[in-house]
Amino acid sequence: MDIGAQTSLNRQLKRRATPASKRMNTDLESTIIFDNVSKFYGEILGVNRVNLVIPPGITSLVGPNGAGKTTLMNLMTGLLRPTRGGVTVVGIPTDQPEELFRRVGYCSQFDSFPRGLTGREFISSFLSVSGIPKKQAEDWTEMALERVDLLPAGDRKIGAYSKGMRQRVRLAQAIAHQPSVLILDEPLNGLDPMVRAETIALFRQLAAEGMHLIISSHILHEVDMMSDRVVLLNNGYVVAEGGIHGVRDEMDVEHPMQILIRCDHPSLLAARMFRTDEVVEARMHDDRHGLFVKTRNPDRFYLLLNEVVAQGEINVESVAPVDDDLSAVYEYLIGTQ
């Protein structure tokens, strides 16, 4: 990342990284709280000064490799201990696994399993390890296998599963004990497009049932499709967090919103628009039937556009923002590294 981008990131940080302790107006029992959390692996930075309050719904952790996504997830589940600060998940400190994992399920990225078990044995065994009585464990195992469409393969050894099936059996294991918080590290890896779509639908259904879902992914359009909010990470820092459009709106000063207007007289429209202060840049589309406009105040811009259209000189076919999505936010804040 260049120095300019880094400076920009730091500014973003200062603006958004308000200490979690100051934002505790949200219910402690229903949120995941990172309070000034840092994690170092020796001298190597994992994450630094993370302050987050994650409410229910689907939250995606997004960032390049090494950004700190998995570290954050491992901190949330007590697989790692913070060097500084503290993490609580729905009010439970992460060093109390006996309480934490009654409420939390974690589908990690480790594609490995205890040796010699079938899918059904794998899920029911670890339900029993959690203290679930045998009959209930068997019932919940069936439900979990059914939810991920693995019932027919339940009695096969996991060693004989395909990568996608292994991913699904891990997902089944993570949801089998009916947690209220589900943490998923790259859960769509290895799934074919059909199963991917079904899995996203399952995530939405779980979120609709009131579950917290924390998902890490590097496939931006899928994150865009399923997330209520995103946490953008880079080099161990939280670069931005919030609803995707909210984050985009906050970036208007440094990265004006780009809008494509399809119309019959784009040069006339450009001339009209430049009479106002709202447009900072206008560029003709390659096919000369559209105009890209950059504005720092989209709401005001749309009002002006209405006025221009009302004058009857220009016929507008469509108006659409072109960088009001996660990919653009990612590109602006993190860049293509």
């Binding site: 692996y41 491992n74 589940t77 007590g78 697989l79 790692l80 201990r81 060093d95 696994p97 006996e98 309480e99 934490l100 994992f101 009654r102 409420r103 399920g105 974690y106 990690s108 480790f110 490995s112 399993f113 205890p114 040796r115 010699g116 065994s125 670890f126 029993s128 390890v129 959690s130 203290g131 679930i132 009585p133 439900m143 059914e146 939810r147 991920v148 469409d149 294991q173 949801i175 004990h177 009916q178 947690p179 209220s180 199963v195 079904e198 899995t199 639908a201 399952l202 259904q205 779980l206 049932e209 009131g210 579950m211």
Partner: protein
Amino acid sequence: MSSTAETIQPGTATRRESSWSLWLRQILAIMRLEVKKNFLGKRAVLIYLLALMPIGLLALIAIVKPADRDWIDFVQYPKLFSVIYNTLILRTVIFFGCAWIFMNLFRGEIVDRSLHYYFLSALRRDVLITGKYFSGLVTAVVLFTTVTVLSMFLTFFPHFFSASTRFFLDGAGLGQLFTYAGITILACIGYGAFFLVVGLFFRNPIIPALSLYGWEWINFLLPPLLKKVSVIHYLNSLVPVPLSEGPIAVAVEPTPAWISVPGLLIVTALVLLAASRRIRRMEIRYGGD
């Protein structure tokens, strides 16, 4: 994905009950998983080979009787077995067998990258230590007590069947058999706790294991106080047929059973307590391991 499955209600898993009955159920669940793995997993092959070593050797001796004087005189047999037990079974088979079984309880799972499934269960980590330890203990006790008993029978019966029958039914044989079995169980308890901790604390457990092996072997040379900082000293104090440790050995009175047995159990409990403290702070970073 199925949409027909019953809707999962978050949080319904929480059900309070007596902690002890919950922990007991969790320990039994861990033991079911681990004992099966210990006996049937690929890593069990080495244990079976170790266990077969004295049995194979004694079976061979049963077929080809040595011409040595000791093997001709039945009176020498209890002493003969004591030597076999002390050098081959206790110091080799049980020591290395326990090292392999107990170190792999955690180290093996770290190598396989599957320990996190336990850490992600609603389970106190000290309960995990207890469950794993007892699963290792069950495996070691079943295997090595069987080896001890079979080895004793294979030493006595093939050469002097009727004398051996009398020795076991009317003489001291049965008492000695139970004592050796008891020493085997105590050895599994003591060495097991040590090796479980070694597997938790050390990335390369071979060096501490070999260090203990050396320490146990030079025990006869150590001054009386240092002798007591070992497992073998207490086990040797219990053997029914004491052996001479040689002319250069530092002579010391055997520790009475009423001290050595509870002493070993107390030290084992302390070692497991240290393991419990360690595992509470343990992180899962397979890459770093």
